[in-house]
Symmetry: C2
Subunit: 325 residues, 2 copies
Amino acid sequence: MSGPSAAEIVRGVLAGETRAVARAISLVEDGAPAAREIVGAVHRKAGRAWIIGVTGPPGAGKSTLVDALGAAFRMQGRRVGIVAVDPTSAFSGGAVLGDRIRMQRHNVDPGVYIRSMATRGHFGGLSRATADAADILDAAGYEVILLETVGVGQDEVEVVRAADCVMVVLVPGLGDDIQAIKAGLLEVADVYVLNKADRDGIEKLETEIANMLALGEETGRPRPRIVRTVAFLGKGLDDLLRAAIDHRTVAEATGAADARRRERSRWRLLDLVRERVLVWASERTEGGGGLEAAVARLCRREIDPYEAADSILGAFASQAGGRPL
Amino acid sequence: MSGPSAAEIVRGVLAGETRAVARAISLVEDGAPAAREIVGAVHRKAGRAWIIGVTGPPGAGKSTLVDALGAAFRMQGRRVGIVAVDPTSAFSGGAVLGDRIRMQRHNVDPGVYIRSMATRGHFGGLSRATADAADILDAAGYEVILLETVGVGQDEVEVVRAADCVMVVLVPGLGDDIQAIKAGLLEVADVYVLNKADRDGIEKLETEIANMLALGEETGRPRPRIVRTVAFLGKGLDDLLRAAIDHRTVAEATGAADARRRERSRWRLLDLVRERVLVWASERTEGGGGLEAAVARLCRREIDPYEAADSILGAFASQAGGRPL
């Protein structure tokens, strides 16, 4: 079964066709060979969208919040792309966030595109695929792109690095883990969204975040805002939109937005380098510098992990001609 | 200020000296040059410890559970090492889990070693450091090593890959995010610990997990157990210990334990390869194949990310002589 060529998909994406966008995102999600040509072409046309990352621990109500935000941007007449990133579904072979259920809420509106993404690869690649998907939506004319991810770890931090503005969603009742969450997100949050603000503990949570921000080092970025919401009831959405727009205005005026874009390019590049070296190493399984041979010696404790890595990297560095992987 | 040499630290670790263990773990945590010599030496002496990974979403009560498990193993007369891995604290420059508070509970007992770990690096390295720390504790004679990590993402999955047995701690009330959590942890869990089992929703949670396991594919591993606990009250601890011991017995008898150790070596090696290539790329900032030059062109959209990665990898592959990085 042959589908459209990469060039045809690129033309469709640039014309804003939903089917072409969907196909292009599937290809980057799968790490397909055509992804390279597609991203190479659309990357040059991208750069206009406003990308907002939304992250936070499980149960914080991110999906509801993202849907409400998307609706609010639609009311302003902007085209909205939503990418629900699901790092945890790498093993299940598919996103589990219920695309279809969410689509039903928006599917009469061609101005909204919603998509869940996982990754099929064993070497991460999710932040690479997310950044590629944002380029595709951007080139297709979506003016606001919402990247939603579940969690508080390094994965999520890397995914939301693709954003111009990062919203961290927290809720009362996280217990001691709030300490770890705060530390992990300190460097990426532009807006703290205190959701489910009708619950007990909201005052304590806000005080904790405010104290953390007061104690924080000068980052050179605009100081993060704190906004309370009850996304399920639509409460606080206006405040949240205003905080996002304020952040954008200040970030563009101070040069923080440019610095962020540069940092984003750096991470994206390193992420791609990482992924490709790992794919190379895992495919070169036999012979000197072969992965399986090194693993077997490592299991027998004949070599240590650092020696094993040397043998892989030596083989990589000495391969003929420095040709691209 | 010069401390002991790597060789002296190795001797201390092999003699089971707590100060040498602490110093060795700090060196691997910092990615210090001496770490390589230390891990190279202790790796050959390790391989006897029983490593149990404990993960789960924020608020699941993992720390309390790990402390209770540690105490239970001590009652059996085993030496216990606890490593609380904190991927989210990479940005804060230190672990935030409150070492000292936890230490107070055990600090009269020389048979327990407790340590929080973060990582100072910008390229992950936490799963590498965790595996190195496990080798150090193993070589120092700790018979049970508990690796505790907060979260449900790829980071945590990679950290607990260092374990012989993985316990996933869940609690009632995770809402829809339970779907993503279940999918992410499906492939790594050996024991599901349903903690805070005195709460509403415990029946529903257990049914969900049981249904998921019934639907799951054959993995070639022993089928995961489900155990209810109220760790705070010490309830269910005996059942949990029994489940862990059963898992070990079956895994050793069926060859699953060997397969796991082999898989662990593979991941550990790839993780190290990844980290070292990224460190190399980030240090080579200028000139052809230099990181900053590529980032600048990428920002201007003169090249796309894949072309930029080619330039970095080409420079890497063509560097003289294939010498180790």
